[in-house]
């Protein structure tokens, strides 16, 4: 092993230590018994259930609308495509507080669309809106890249055999891009599960209605650190399982 390879390994070790240490600390600080005990609390159960429902709803919306949109961005070249791609990716780099303010200004009670009667806040629907906004770019970005990487000749073959574009998309492009699409889906889902700032600003915090797991963790942090650790541990497990499931499901297929 030459010195450069050694250096690469050292940096990887540092990166890994830095990223993994806080996550490990959560599980060192809280024993399995306490972890389970912390879930024996109606507010924790409500938060988990709410997070599951709202993040699934957000992911469903993202996939239904995001897949065709990403296909278009990946297969057509038109004026301003780069601009559109950048706009779509913008929420990725926006601080959650900016997302929260933006949503309030757009679809809040005194937002731009309020005169038309379109306004969400402090409701479960508002949570879904916030999660969709922050998570969508993660899927769109991956989906666009995955579609762009599909071998042109497969698509051409499908068309020569008489399949229309819709059929080609459904039967050839989506199956071929599936690993990339699922990776994007997992990232978007993970981001939605972890959303905090935009949700608090736009949707508020109320048990069973808008208090998702991250908000419940924040509320517990002040009075019940062990409880906050317990819920955090659950969120780590769920998010980690999500990433792993997607990785393994598509390794098996290929």
């Amino acid at each position: 092993m030459n010195w450069f390879t050694a250096l690469l390994w050292v940096t990887l070790a540092l990166v890994l230590a830095f990223l993994v240490f806080p996550v490990v600390a959560i599980f060192v600080d809280v024993g399995p018994a306490e972890l389970i005990a912390s879930l024996d609390d109606p507010s924790a159960v409500d938060a988990l259930w709410l997070s599951l429902r709202t993040s699934l709803a957000a992911v469903a919306i993202i996939v239904v609308f995001g897949t065709p949109a990403a296909w278009l961005l990946a297969t057509r070249s038109f004026r301003g495509r780069e601009v559109v791609t950048t706009l779509v990716e913008l929420p990725l780099v926006l601080p959650p507080a900016v997302a929260g303010i933006g949503l309030l200004a757009a679809v809040g009670p005194s937002g731009l669309l309020a005169p038309l009667g379109i306004s969400f806040t402090l409701s479960t629907a508002a949570v879904v809106v916030a999660l969709t906004f922050v998570a969508a770019p993660f899927y769109l970005r991956q989906a666009q890249a995955a579609f762009a990487a599909v071998d042109r000749s497969w698509l051409d073959a499908s068309r020569t055999l008489g399949a229309g574009e819709a059929r080609t998309l459904a039967r050839v492009a989506i199956p071929a891009a599936l690993p990339g699409l699922s990776a994007g889906l997992a990232l978007a889902w993970g981001r939605a599960l972890g959303e905090f700032g935009a949700t608090l600003m736009f949707a508020g915090s109320f048990q069973g209605v808008t208090q998702t797991v991250p908000l419940a963790i924040y509320e517990r942090f002040a009075t019940d650190f062990t409880g906050a650790l317990g819920l955090s541990a659950v969120l780590v497990c769920v998010s980690g399982a999500l990433l792993l499931a997607v990785k393994f499901a598509f390794r098996a297929a290929y």
Binding site: G204, T210, A222
Partner: protein, 259 residues
Amino acid sequence: MIAAMRRFLVLFACAGLLAACGSDDSGSPAGSTKPQLTVSAAASLKNAFRRYAQDFEAAKVRSSFAGSDELAAQIRQGVKPDVFASANTKLPDALYAAGLVGKPVVFAANELVLAVPADSAVRGLSDLTKEGTTIAMGSESVPVGAYTRKVLDGLPADERAAILGHVRSNEPDVAGVVGKVAQGAVDAGFVYVTDVEATEGKLKAIDLPADLKPQVAYGVAVVKGAKHPEQAQHFVDGLLRGAGREALEGAGFLPPPGA
């Protein structure tokens, strides 16, 4: 590749330059010799402490504003600001008992009110029981939320239940409650009178019945193991008499009970 890297470096340098410009007066020779005092303060103290910090001679003050309960929890987890100022006396007393802060002193009082938009038809607590009314309050653990629940506990059970049934958000600090009312996301919120004054007419305060009004007293303490205990003590002293006292009065705070 090289060109891309160079472009990246230029971008990076620009960002660094921007960051340097952003860190206000650190470049001035007087500023650089002053110690930096870290103050953890209740969200409701923001305006008063901002003004006080500008006039504070002994140190450059960095404040972090949040729910008092969150700040106290940070101190329990080993975070060491120099000063902890809370919207109640319970949290600093508990930290004192745990040996984490010096002896707390009461330095100001405030008043819990019902905040509504300036053009609201809400006149008092009884309007909050009306069908379709929406309310925001502090969560149970933050002082403003605890005071609010104390007020509601003094109401007849059916009235209390009706009001609690109209709560749409339990916010982690008072700033969140003010924001929800100011945005029109809810019809009313329980906040301190100083928070309403800070909105400069956007919100109006409705007094609570005198027999239900909780006593809102603010406690402050120097944190044990503070980096700059001497300046921290100066800061606390100034809250009782001096520039801090004036800033508090300017923001609408009342003198501490018994002073």
